[in-house]
Protein backbone atom coordinates (compact mmCIF):
# COMPACT_ATOMS: atom_id res chain seq x y z
CA UNK A 1 0.00 0.00 0.00
CA UNK A 2 1.27 3.45 -0.90
CA UNK A 3 2.41 5.35 2.16
CA UNK A 4 2.02 8.82 0.73
CA UNK A 5 3.42 11.28 -1.74
CA UNK A 6 5.82 13.79 -0.29
CA UNK A 7 7.18 16.89 -1.95
CA UNK A 8 10.42 17.31 -0.02
CA UNK A 9 12.71 14.46 0.77
CA UNK A 10 16.36 14.89 1.59
CA UNK A 11 17.13 12.12 4.03
CA UNK A 12 18.17 9.18 1.92
CA UNK A 13 18.88 7.21 5.03
CA UNK A 14 15.14 7.09 5.69
CA UNK A 15 14.69 5.01 2.56
CA UNK A 16 16.12 2.02 4.35
CA UNK A 17 12.88 1.83 6.29
CA UNK A 18 10.77 1.10 3.24
CA UNK A 19 10.47 -2.09 1.24
CA UNK A 20 9.93 -0.24 -2.01
CA UNK A 21 10.43 3.38 -3.04
CA UNK A 22 9.62 5.24 -6.24
CA UNK A 23 11.53 8.50 -6.73
CA UNK A 24 10.41 10.92 -9.42
CA UNK A 25 12.59 13.96 -10.04
CA UNK A 26 14.02 16.12 -12.79
CA UNK A 27 17.01 14.62 -14.62
CA UNK A 28 19.72 16.63 -12.89
CA UNK A 29 18.46 15.89 -9.37
CA UNK A 30 17.85 12.26 -10.23
CA UNK A 31 21.53 11.73 -11.06
CA UNK A 32 22.60 13.20 -7.73
CA UNK A 33 19.93 11.23 -5.87
CA UNK A 34 20.96 7.86 -7.25
CA UNK A 35 24.54 8.46 -6.11
CA UNK A 36 23.26 9.53 -2.68
CA UNK A 37 21.27 6.31 -2.47
CA UNK A 38 24.27 4.20 -3.47
CA UNK A 39 26.37 6.02 -0.85
CA UNK A 40 23.73 5.36 1.79
CA UNK A 41 23.66 1.68 0.84
CA UNK A 42 27.42 1.22 0.62
CA UNK A 43 27.48 -1.41 3.34
CA UNK A 44 24.55 -3.31 1.77
CA UNK A 45 24.41 -5.63 -1.23
CA UNK A 46 23.01 -3.71 -4.20
CA UNK A 47 21.88 -4.77 -7.65
CA UNK A 48 22.12 -1.71 -9.87
CA UNK A 49 20.40 -1.41 -13.21
CA UNK A 50 21.25 1.86 -14.94
CA UNK A 51 19.57 2.26 -18.31
CA UNK A 52 21.47 5.35 -19.46
CA UNK A 53 25.11 4.41 -19.03
CA UNK A 54 27.51 1.60 -19.87
CA UNK A 55 29.12 -0.51 -17.15
CA UNK A 56 32.67 0.77 -17.73
CA UNK A 57 31.64 4.40 -17.80
CA UNK A 58 29.38 3.93 -14.79
CA UNK A 59 32.07 2.29 -12.68
CA UNK A 60 34.51 5.04 -13.63
CA UNK A 61 31.97 7.73 -12.64
CA UNK A 62 31.08 6.05 -9.35
CA UNK A 63 34.73 5.69 -8.40
CA UNK A 64 35.33 9.34 -9.31
CA UNK A 65 32.50 10.25 -6.92
CA UNK A 66 34.20 8.24 -4.18
CA UNK A 67 31.77 5.34 -4.10
CA UNK A 68 32.86 1.82 -3.27
CA UNK A 69 31.54 -0.67 -5.77
CA UNK A 70 32.51 -3.92 -4.01
CA UNK A 71 28.93 -4.65 -2.96
CA UNK A 72 27.30 -3.67 -6.24
CA UNK A 73 26.22 -6.08 -8.97
CA UNK A 74 25.57 -4.29 -12.26
CA UNK A 75 23.17 -5.01 -15.09
CA UNK A 76 24.17 -3.29 -18.33
CA UNK A 77 21.62 -2.90 -21.15
CA UNK A 78 23.68 -0.61 -23.41
CA UNK A 79 27.18 -1.93 -24.07
CA UNK A 80 26.10 -4.82 -26.29
CA UNK A 81 23.50 -2.68 -28.02
CA UNK A 82 26.17 -0.09 -28.84
CA UNK A 83 28.47 -2.73 -30.28
CA UNK A 84 30.91 -2.85 -27.37
CA UNK A 85 32.96 -5.89 -26.48
CA UNK A 86 31.72 -7.65 -23.40
CA UNK A 87 33.43 -10.25 -21.32
CA UNK A 88 31.92 -12.19 -18.48
CA UNK A 89 32.65 -10.73 -15.10
CA UNK A 90 31.32 -11.73 -11.72
CA UNK A 91 29.81 -8.37 -10.92
CA UNK A 92 28.10 -7.52 -14.21
CA UNK A 93 25.60 -9.06 -16.61
CA UNK A 94 25.28 -7.63 -20.11
CA UNK A 95 21.81 -7.68 -21.65
CA UNK A 96 21.57 -7.63 -25.44
CA UNK A 97 19.02 -4.82 -25.63
CA UNK A 98 16.42 -3.13 -23.44
CA UNK A 99 13.48 -4.72 -25.29
CA UNK A 100 14.65 -8.14 -24.14
CA UNK A 101 12.76 -7.95 -20.88
CA UNK A 102 12.85 -11.73 -20.45
CA UNK A 103 16.67 -11.71 -20.30
CA UNK A 104 16.56 -8.65 -18.10
CA UNK A 105 14.15 -10.34 -15.71
CA UNK A 106 16.33 -13.47 -15.62
CA UNK A 107 19.43 -11.36 -14.93
CA UNK A 108 17.69 -9.61 -12.05
CA UNK A 109 16.48 -12.92 -10.58
CA UNK A 110 19.95 -14.41 -10.95
CA UNK A 111 21.55 -11.54 -9.06
CA UNK A 112 18.80 -11.46 -6.45
CA UNK A 113 19.59 -15.11 -5.70
CA UNK A 114 23.31 -14.34 -5.50
CA UNK A 115 22.85 -12.65 -2.13
CA UNK A 116 21.16 -14.52 0.68
CA UNK A 117 20.96 -11.54 3.03
CA UNK A 118 18.69 -8.50 2.66
CA UNK A 119 19.60 -6.74 -0.59
CA UNK A 120 18.59 -3.70 -2.62
CA UNK A 121 17.54 -3.46 -6.23
CA UNK A 122 18.15 0.04 -7.62
CA UNK A 123 16.68 0.76 -11.03
CA UNK A 124 17.75 4.09 -12.53
CA UNK A 125 16.00 5.87 -15.42
CA UNK A 126 13.56 3.02 -15.82
CA UNK A 127 11.44 5.09 -18.23
CA UNK A 128 14.05 4.34 -20.91
CA UNK A 129 12.37 0.94 -21.11
CA UNK A 130 9.42 2.77 -22.60
CA UNK A 131 11.48 3.67 -25.67
CA UNK A 132 11.73 -0.03 -26.48
CA UNK A 133 8.55 -1.49 -25.01
CA UNK A 134 4.88 -0.68 -24.77
CA UNK A 135 3.70 0.84 -21.51
CA UNK A 136 1.63 -2.15 -20.41
CA UNK A 137 4.60 -4.46 -21.05
CA UNK A 138 6.84 -2.25 -18.88
CA UNK A 139 4.18 -2.24 -16.20
CA UNK A 140 3.97 -6.04 -16.21
CA UNK A 141 7.75 -6.21 -16.09
CA UNK A 142 7.84 -3.98 -13.01
CA UNK A 143 5.20 -6.18 -11.42
CA UNK A 144 7.32 -9.27 -12.10
CA UNK A 145 10.35 -7.55 -10.53
CA UNK A 146 8.31 -6.95 -7.41
CA UNK A 147 7.42 -10.62 -7.28
CA UNK A 148 11.08 -11.68 -7.67
CA UNK A 149 12.19 -9.14 -5.08
CA UNK A 150 9.57 -10.26 -2.62
CA UNK A 151 10.61 -13.90 -3.04
CA UNK A 152 14.28 -13.00 -2.54
CA UNK A 153 14.06 -10.68 0.46
CA UNK A 154 15.03 -7.63 -1.60
CA UNK A 155 14.04 -3.99 -1.32
CA UNK A 156 13.37 -1.93 -4.43
CA UNK A 157 14.21 1.67 -5.36
CA UNK A 158 13.08 2.88 -8.77
CA UNK A 159 14.09 6.31 -10.05
CA UNK A 160 12.47 8.10 -12.95
CA UNK A 161 11.86 11.45 -14.54
CA UNK A 162 8.28 12.60 -14.84
CA UNK A 163 8.21 14.04 -18.35
CA UNK A 164 5.91 11.98 -20.59
CA UNK A 165 5.88 9.22 -17.98
CA UNK A 166 2.89 10.47 -15.98
CA UNK A 167 0.59 7.70 -17.12
CA UNK A 168 3.02 4.90 -16.27
CA UNK A 169 4.01 6.48 -12.96
CA UNK A 170 0.38 6.85 -11.98
CA UNK A 171 -0.27 3.18 -12.71
CA UNK A 172 2.85 2.11 -10.81
CA UNK A 173 2.53 4.12 -7.62
CA UNK A 174 0.29 1.58 -5.86
CA UNK A 175 3.11 -0.99 -6.01
CA UNK A 176 5.29 1.13 -3.73
CA UNK A 177 5.38 1.73 0.00
CA UNK A 178 6.83 5.20 -0.53
CA UNK A 179 6.58 7.60 -3.46
CA UNK A 180 8.85 10.63 -3.53
CA UNK A 181 7.92 13.39 -5.95
CA UNK A 182 10.26 16.34 -6.28
CA UNK A 183 9.55 18.17 -9.48
CA UNK A 184 10.72 21.77 -9.92
Amino acid sequence: MQDGIVTTYNKMIELKNYGSVLIVKDTKSLRVTVNDILKTLQDKPVIYLNLTNTYNSLVSNLKKDGLKINNILFIDCITRLAGGNVSDQENVLFIKEPNDLTSLGIAISQFLKAYLMRKWLVLYAFSILKIYNKEDIVLRFIQSIFESASASNAKIVILSTKVKNESLIKKMTHFFEKVVMEIE
Partner: protein, 189 residues
Protein backbone atom coordinates in the same frame (compact mmCIF):
# COMPACT_ATOMS: atom_id res chain seq x y z
CA UNK B 1 28.48 37.00 -25.83
CA UNK B 2 27.77 37.50 -22.14
CA UNK B 3 30.58 36.94 -19.65
CA UNK B 4 28.28 34.52 -17.85
CA UNK B 5 28.08 32.32 -20.96
CA UNK B 6 31.85 32.38 -21.49
CA UNK B 7 32.25 31.28 -17.89
CA UNK B 8 29.68 28.50 -18.33
CA UNK B 9 31.56 27.19 -21.37
CA UNK B 10 34.92 27.26 -19.60
CA UNK B 11 33.67 25.56 -16.46
CA UNK B 12 31.66 22.98 -18.44
CA UNK B 13 34.84 21.07 -19.20
CA UNK B 14 36.08 20.99 -15.62
CA UNK B 15 35.54 18.22 -13.09
CA UNK B 16 34.48 15.62 -15.65
CA UNK B 17 34.96 11.85 -15.66
CA UNK B 18 37.76 10.36 -17.76
CA UNK B 19 35.42 10.13 -20.74
CA UNK B 20 32.48 12.46 -20.83
CA UNK B 21 29.41 13.47 -22.75
CA UNK B 22 28.02 17.00 -22.64
CA UNK B 23 24.90 18.60 -24.06
CA UNK B 24 24.90 22.31 -24.92
CA UNK B 25 21.49 23.90 -25.32
CA UNK B 26 21.73 27.19 -27.20
CA UNK B 27 19.19 29.83 -28.16
CA UNK B 28 18.61 30.20 -31.90
CA UNK B 29 19.52 33.91 -31.99
CA UNK B 30 23.10 33.41 -30.73
CA UNK B 31 23.53 29.85 -31.93
CA UNK B 32 26.54 30.28 -34.18
CA UNK B 33 28.52 32.49 -31.81
CA UNK B 34 28.03 30.20 -28.83
CA UNK B 35 28.54 27.08 -30.92
CA UNK B 36 31.92 28.43 -32.09
CA UNK B 37 32.90 29.40 -28.54
CA UNK B 38 32.26 25.83 -27.36
CA UNK B 39 34.23 24.38 -30.29
CA UNK B 40 37.10 26.73 -29.63
CA UNK B 41 37.21 25.69 -25.98
CA UNK B 42 36.99 21.95 -26.55
CA UNK B 43 39.38 21.79 -29.51
CA UNK B 44 41.99 23.72 -27.57
CA UNK B 45 42.34 20.78 -25.22
CA UNK B 46 45.56 18.89 -25.69
CA UNK B 47 45.68 16.15 -28.38
CA UNK B 48 41.98 16.45 -29.14
CA UNK B 49 40.93 15.21 -32.56
CA UNK B 50 37.25 15.53 -33.35
CA UNK B 51 34.64 13.93 -35.58
CA UNK B 52 32.04 16.53 -36.44
CA UNK B 53 28.64 15.17 -37.46
CA UNK B 54 26.89 18.00 -39.25
CA UNK B 55 23.17 17.59 -39.71
CA UNK B 56 22.22 20.93 -41.20
CA UNK B 57 25.28 22.76 -42.56
CA UNK B 58 27.01 21.35 -45.64
CA UNK B 59 30.68 20.52 -45.15
CA UNK B 60 31.85 23.20 -47.60
CA UNK B 61 29.95 25.94 -45.77
CA UNK B 62 30.77 24.62 -42.31
CA UNK B 63 34.52 24.60 -42.90
CA UNK B 64 34.37 28.19 -44.14
CA UNK B 65 32.49 29.23 -41.00
CA UNK B 66 34.95 27.36 -38.79
CA UNK B 67 37.96 28.91 -40.47
CA UNK B 68 36.41 32.38 -40.28
CA UNK B 69 36.07 31.82 -36.54
CA UNK B 70 39.69 30.66 -36.22
CA UNK B 71 38.77 27.06 -35.43
CA UNK B 72 41.56 24.71 -36.43
CA UNK B 73 39.89 22.34 -38.93
CA UNK B 74 43.07 20.24 -39.11
CA UNK B 75 41.87 18.67 -35.87
CA UNK B 76 38.52 17.69 -37.32
CA UNK B 77 37.04 14.98 -39.51
CA UNK B 78 33.50 15.37 -40.76
CA UNK B 79 30.38 13.32 -41.31
CA UNK B 80 28.10 15.36 -43.51
CA UNK B 81 24.44 14.30 -43.54
CA UNK B 82 23.11 17.19 -45.60
CA UNK B 83 25.23 17.84 -48.72
CA UNK B 84 24.01 14.76 -50.62
CA UNK B 85 20.39 15.75 -50.05
CA UNK B 86 21.24 19.01 -51.86
CA UNK B 87 23.08 17.19 -54.66
CA UNK B 88 26.32 19.02 -53.98
CA UNK B 89 28.69 16.20 -53.05
CA UNK B 90 32.38 16.63 -53.74
CA UNK B 91 34.97 14.02 -52.81
CA UNK B 92 36.95 14.92 -49.78
CA UNK B 93 39.41 12.92 -47.69
CA UNK B 94 38.33 14.57 -44.48
CA UNK B 95 34.63 14.11 -44.91
CA UNK B 96 32.19 11.23 -45.27
CA UNK B 97 29.04 12.24 -47.09
CA UNK B 98 25.95 10.33 -46.01
CA UNK B 99 22.69 10.12 -47.93
CA UNK B 100 20.56 12.01 -45.41
CA UNK B 101 19.87 12.39 -41.68
CA UNK B 102 17.16 9.75 -42.00
CA UNK B 103 19.59 6.87 -42.20
CA UNK B 104 20.59 6.71 -38.58
CA UNK B 105 22.32 3.34 -38.90
CA UNK B 106 24.71 4.82 -41.45
CA UNK B 107 25.56 7.63 -39.05
CA UNK B 108 26.61 5.16 -36.35
CA UNK B 109 28.59 3.08 -38.86
CA UNK B 110 30.37 6.23 -40.08
CA UNK B 111 31.22 7.19 -36.50
CA UNK B 112 32.65 3.71 -35.93
CA UNK B 113 34.73 3.89 -39.12
CA UNK B 114 36.16 7.37 -38.63
CA UNK B 115 36.85 7.05 -34.92
CA UNK B 116 38.73 3.79 -35.48
CA UNK B 117 41.26 5.48 -37.78
CA UNK B 118 41.90 8.54 -35.64
CA UNK B 119 45.27 8.06 -33.99
CA UNK B 120 44.71 10.35 -30.98
CA UNK B 121 43.69 8.95 -27.60
CA UNK B 122 41.65 12.06 -26.94
CA UNK B 123 38.89 11.56 -29.48
CA UNK B 124 35.88 13.80 -29.57
CA UNK B 125 32.51 13.39 -31.27
CA UNK B 126 30.45 16.49 -32.02
CA UNK B 127 26.86 16.28 -33.23
CA UNK B 128 25.24 19.48 -34.43
CA UNK B 129 22.31 20.06 -33.99
CA UNK B 130 20.41 17.14 -32.47
CA UNK B 131 16.95 18.55 -33.13
CA UNK B 132 17.40 18.14 -36.90
CA UNK B 133 17.04 14.38 -36.44
CA UNK B 134 13.42 14.96 -35.48
CA UNK B 135 12.70 16.60 -38.84
CA UNK B 136 13.70 13.45 -40.70
CA UNK B 137 12.70 10.70 -38.26
CA UNK B 138 9.93 9.68 -35.91
CA UNK B 139 10.46 10.66 -32.27
CA UNK B 140 10.52 6.99 -31.22
CA UNK B 141 13.26 6.19 -33.76
CA UNK B 142 15.32 9.19 -32.64
CA UNK B 143 15.00 8.11 -29.00
CA UNK B 144 16.42 4.68 -29.79
CA UNK B 145 19.15 6.26 -31.89
CA UNK B 146 20.11 8.61 -29.06
CA UNK B 147 20.36 5.69 -26.67
CA UNK B 148 22.60 3.77 -29.06
CA UNK B 149 24.65 6.82 -30.08
CA UNK B 150 25.40 7.85 -26.51
CA UNK B 151 26.17 4.22 -25.66
CA UNK B 152 28.54 4.06 -28.61
CA UNK B 153 30.32 7.24 -27.53
CA UNK B 154 30.98 5.57 -24.19
CA UNK B 155 31.86 2.16 -25.61
CA UNK B 156 34.41 3.72 -27.99
CA UNK B 157 35.87 5.79 -25.14
CA UNK B 158 35.14 9.00 -26.99
CA UNK B 159 34.27 12.31 -25.44
CA UNK B 160 31.08 13.80 -26.80
CA UNK B 161 29.58 17.21 -27.34
CA UNK B 162 25.97 17.36 -28.49
CA UNK B 163 24.46 20.65 -29.58
CA UNK B 164 20.78 21.49 -29.54
CA UNK B 165 18.78 24.57 -30.24
CA UNK B 166 16.42 25.40 -27.44
CA UNK B 167 13.37 25.89 -29.68
CA UNK B 168 13.70 22.63 -31.60
CA UNK B 169 13.59 20.53 -28.48
CA UNK B 170 10.28 19.32 -27.23
CA UNK B 171 10.11 18.46 -23.57
CA UNK B 172 10.34 14.70 -24.01
CA UNK B 173 13.30 14.84 -26.38
CA UNK B 174 15.15 17.31 -24.12
CA UNK B 175 14.46 15.11 -21.12
CA UNK B 176 15.81 12.01 -22.83
CA UNK B 177 18.91 13.81 -24.05
CA UNK B 178 19.60 15.08 -20.55
CA UNK B 179 19.37 11.59 -19.12
CA UNK B 180 21.95 10.25 -21.56
CA UNK B 181 24.65 12.88 -21.00
CA UNK B 182 26.90 13.58 -18.03
CA UNK B 183 26.11 17.27 -17.93
CA UNK B 184 23.77 19.74 -19.64
CA UNK B 185 25.02 23.27 -20.17
CA UNK B 186 22.23 25.73 -20.78
CA UNK B 187 23.41 28.65 -22.90
CA UNK B 188 19.93 29.61 -24.01
CA UNK B 189 19.27 32.47 -21.61
Amino acid sequence: MKTEDIEKITTAFKDLPEHWLLLFVINAEDYLEKNMAVLNEVLNQEDTVGVYVTLNRPYSLLTKILEKNNINTDKLFFIDCITKTLGLEKDNKKCLFLENPQNLTNITIAIDEISSVIPSKNKLLLVDPMGTLLIYNRAETVSKFLHILTGKIRVLNLNGVLFATEKELDLEFANQLEQFVDKTVDLSK
